[in-house]
Every structure is written in structure tokens, then in C-alpha cells.
């Protein structure tokens, strides 16, 4: 089987669209609510989850034949926890301000259901390369939704995008305009509503997902 066969393409593309972890499997919602009030933490969180899912998938896939069946979940957890700790340390060392914003949610990647789900459902049965693709696909599928939610929340909640002012200053009420930032958008509850809208749009487009 070649590296970029049709099957592998499906493994990679599935989670980006028809099998999206957030929109279809509704996994990993908690962190999607917490880190998406601005775009930058959403991007960093999405990338962190992608890297961790991909590498934990590869590692588990490589050692899958040696793992004692009775402690396989614990082994998976140890591998994920180790990777999360490394990523969290790297973020603290190189993008300190983002790591402050993400606060506990980097550590909570350990409990992200997407990771454990992929390890148990995919990496335990498949080779390293397929597992890597599956991890990247699922991570990016998660990241895409996070970025959409972060984009909407930052524009409407702060009037900025990646800290650049998008809505002109003159449009604001305090400068004589008619516009006010929507404070609701900065609250986690709005993330839930936007995620729901994303799922709605996604299902409206993919009719066969409706059960």
C-alpha cells in the first residue's frame, strides 16, 4: 500500500469533514468553549492538539503489539500526559503570553476525548503512518472548528482579529458611531451557541449526516 493511497487519503480527510470530531462526533467540546474567545489561543490550542494527537497515535501504534491488554488505557494516558507536558513546557518557553491565556487548558488536553478515542479506536489497530495521518486529520478537524469559533467571537466580541483592529474606531459609540462590542461573545456560553451553529451549517450542507 503506497503512502498516499486512496485509503490513507480517506483516513486523513474523513475527520476534516464527514467525521469531524467536534461537528459530527461532538468530542472535545469543553476546550472548544474555553479557549476560543480570541483567535490566537484557538490556533495555538488547535495546533497543540494536532501535534499531540499525531505523535501519541504514532507512539501507541509503534508499541501497540507490546502493550499488555489489561493496562492499555493507562499506557495510552502516560504517553499522552508525557506529550502534553512537553508541549506545555515548550509553549511556556517560546509563546509565554499564549500559554498564560490557555492556562489550564493545555494540561486538560490530556482529558480531551478526541485523543483517547483515536488511540483506542485507531492507533491500537493500525500502523504508524496511517495512525499519524489519522492523528493529523483529527487534530486539524478540531482546529478548524476552533478557528471558526475563535474568528467569530474575536470579531464580534473585541472588534479585532489577532489583535489587529478590524472594526474601525470611528464606528464605536464612544467615538460617536453606532457600534458596540458584543460582550456576550466573550462568555463561554456563546461559544456553545456558535459551535451549535457550525454543526447546523455542516449538517445542512452534508444532508446524509442527518439521521
Amino acid at each position: 500500500m503506497s503512502l498516499f493511497s486512496k485509503e490513507n487519503g480517506a483516513v486523513f480527510m474523513g475527520p476534516l469533514n464527514l467525521n469531524n470530531p467536534i461537528a459530527v462526533q461532538v468530542l472535545g467540546i469543553c476546550s472548544a468553549l474555553a479557549v476560543t474567545s480570541q483567535l490566537k489561543p484557538a490556533i495555538v490550542m488547535g495546533l497543540s492538539v494536532t501535534v499531540i494527537t499525531a505523535f501519541s497515535n504514532v507512539i501507541i501504534s509503534l508499541i501497540r503489539k507490546t502493550i499488555p491488554n489489561r493496562i492499555r488505557i493507562i499506557v495510552q494516558l502516560v504517553v499522552v500526559a508525557a506529550l502534553v507536558t512537553i508541549v506545555s513546557n515548550i509553549l511556556k518557553a517560546y509563546v509565554y503570553d499564549v500559554s498564560v491565556q490557555l492556562s489550564v487548558y493545555v494540561g486538560l488536553i490530556i482529558t480531551n476525548c478526541i485523543l483517547m478515542g483515536r488511540l483506542e479506536a485507531f492507533a491500537m489497530q493500525n500502523g504508524p503512518w496511517e495512525s499519524f495521518l489519522d492523528g493529523i486529520g483529527n487534530g486539524l478537524g478540531y482546529a478548524v472548528v476552533l478557528v471558526i469559533v475563535g474568528l467569530i467571537r474575536e470579531i464580534l466580541g473585541f472588534g479585532t482579529l489577532l489583535d489587529f483592529q478590524i472594526i474601525p474606531d470611528s464606528a464605536y459609540v464612544e467615538n460617536g458611531g453606532l457600534y458596540l462590542n458584543n460582550g456576550m461573545m466573550t462568555m463561554p456560553a456563546m461559544a456553545l451557541i456558535i459551535v451549535a451553529c457550525v454543526i447546523w451549517a455542516h449538517r445542512a450542507y452534508n444532508k446524509d449526516l442527518e439521521s
Binding site: I71, I86, Y96
Partner: protein, 233 residues
């Protein structure tokens, strides 16, 4: 070679031990390799907070600006009249380690004027609050402030970390006219009582408990530094 029985107890225990030891070494290595960079970041962050209290925000090279602006960081003991017990080293004292006989502060010079930056700490609704208050050489006029928080409600209490709130302290007086009690307060609109306009700022709407936390933090921590501030009064 006979196939290994991956379900035997001995195998399971050895497997778990070896895995944990490998992971432990890996994490210890990563943590110690990145520690210096992380510590530098924390230090830089603290410097940029102190600069923010001095109304110097968004500078590119925080370390250079800090070195230029902040002249010394003495530590005062229990008796301020004896002068500082150490001329430098205040920066290394974490805000939570401040006690009546271990009081660091920062002497800065902005546009040729001396400013004193006092670290403050307190508790908000959900978690800790901290900040820095820069005071003019007269020992009572606020030059600028910086506040931050651990986990106040986004959009409400968290707004104490925004510049408009911090700027509302500019020019306020710490002491009521002629008294040596800390008068500077954060109050709900309409609840000023008999406070003079130069002694209070409006709290954040919808975040009364966080605003009260800032109010108590100012009272407690400036109270702790009262004698040092009064020296120059």
C-alpha cells in the same frame, strides 16, 4: 523465540515500570532544558507589568526599557525610617512573599520625575488579584496602575485588567486631605459616600465582588507601604 505472553503479571509490571521510567527521564530532561527560557519569560512578564504601571505599554524591548526606567529595587524592613534594609534585590521578591518586614518596591524615573512603584496583591471573586501602583514623588498622587487576575469572570471582573480601568486611577490621591489613612477606593457608582472625588474610582459594572477585591487590595497593600510613602510626603 517463543511468543512473549503480553498478558502475564510479570510482563505487565515490568512493562509499566520501564515505561514510567523512560517517561520520567524524558520529562525531567525537557523541563530542565527549558527552565532558563521559561524563567526569563516570567521575569520579562513581571518587568512589563511594572512598566505598564508606569504607563509604558506595548514596548518591543521590555528588558532594555525596564533597565532604562527602573533605577533601583530596594527592600524595606519593618521600620521605614531606618531606610531600606537592602538597596537592590526587590525584584526577586515574589509579591506573595511580601510581609511587613520584607517590603520591596521599585524606584523609577520617567521623564525626569521619580516614581515609586508598589506591588499589590489581593483576592477577587474566583482567584487571586495582583498588580502594581506607581506613585508620584509626593507619595500620594497615583501616576499609573496595572492590575491582573487569575480567573475573574471574562467580560466582567476580568475587565480590571483592561487599560481604561487602570487609567481611571491616574491622578487620584491615595490619602484623604490631611489624613494618613488610605482613602483611595474603588466604589460602586452612587455609593461614594463622603469620599472626595480625587479619592475614588468607579468599580466595574456588574463586577462588584471583583471591584471590592481591588478596593481591599489597595487598602491592604498601600496600608502596608504607608510609612514608606509618607517619608516623601
Amino acid at each position: 523465540m517463543a511468543k512473549l505472553n503480553t498478558n502475564s503479571n510479570a510482563y505487565t509490571i515490568i512493562y509499566a515500570s520501564v515505561l514510567v521510567i523512560i517517561v520520567a527521564f524524558l520529562l525531567a530532561f525537557v523541563a530542565s532544558a527549558l527552565k532558563p527560557t521559561q524563567d526569563a519569560n516570567v521575569e520579562l512578564d513581571k518587568k512589563s507589568q511594572i512598566l505598564a504601571a508606569l504607563n509604558i505599554r506595548g514596548v518591543e524591548d521590555v528588558a532594555a526599557k525596564y533597565a532604562e526606567v527602573v533605577k533601583s529595587d530596594p527592600i524595606y524592613g519593618a521600620d521605614a525610617s531606618q531606610g531600606p534594609k537592602a538597596q537592590t534585590g526587590g525584584f526577586a521578591v515574589a509579591t506573595k512573599e511580601i510581609t511587613p518586614d520584607n517590603r520591596p518596591l521599585y524606584i523609577a524615573e520617567v521623564d525626569g520625575e521619580t516614581k515609586v512603584v508598589v506591588p499589590v496583591k489581593g483576592a477577587g471573586l474566583w482567584g487571586g488579584l495582583w498588580g502594581y501602583i506607581a506613585v508620584n514623588a509626593d507619595g500620594e498622587t497615583v501616576y499609573g496602575t496595572y492590575f491582573s487576575h487569575e480567573s475573574e469572570t471574562a467580560g466582567l471582573g476580568a475587565r480590571i485588567a483592561e487599560q481604561w480601568f487602570q487609567d481611571s486611577f491616574k491622578g487620584k490621591k491615595i490619602f484623604a486631605n490631611g489624613s494618613d489613612e488610605i482613602a483611595l477606593s474603588v466604589v460602586k457608582k452612587g455609593k461614594e459616600g463622603n469620599l472626595a472625588p480625587e479619592n475614588y474610582v468607579d468599580g466595574v459594572t456588574g463586577a462588584t465582588l471583583t471591584s471590592n477585591g481591588v478596593n481591599d487590595m489597595i487598602k491592604d497593600c498601600l496600608g502596608l507601604y504607608k510609612d514608606i510613602l509618607s517619608i516623601n510626603k
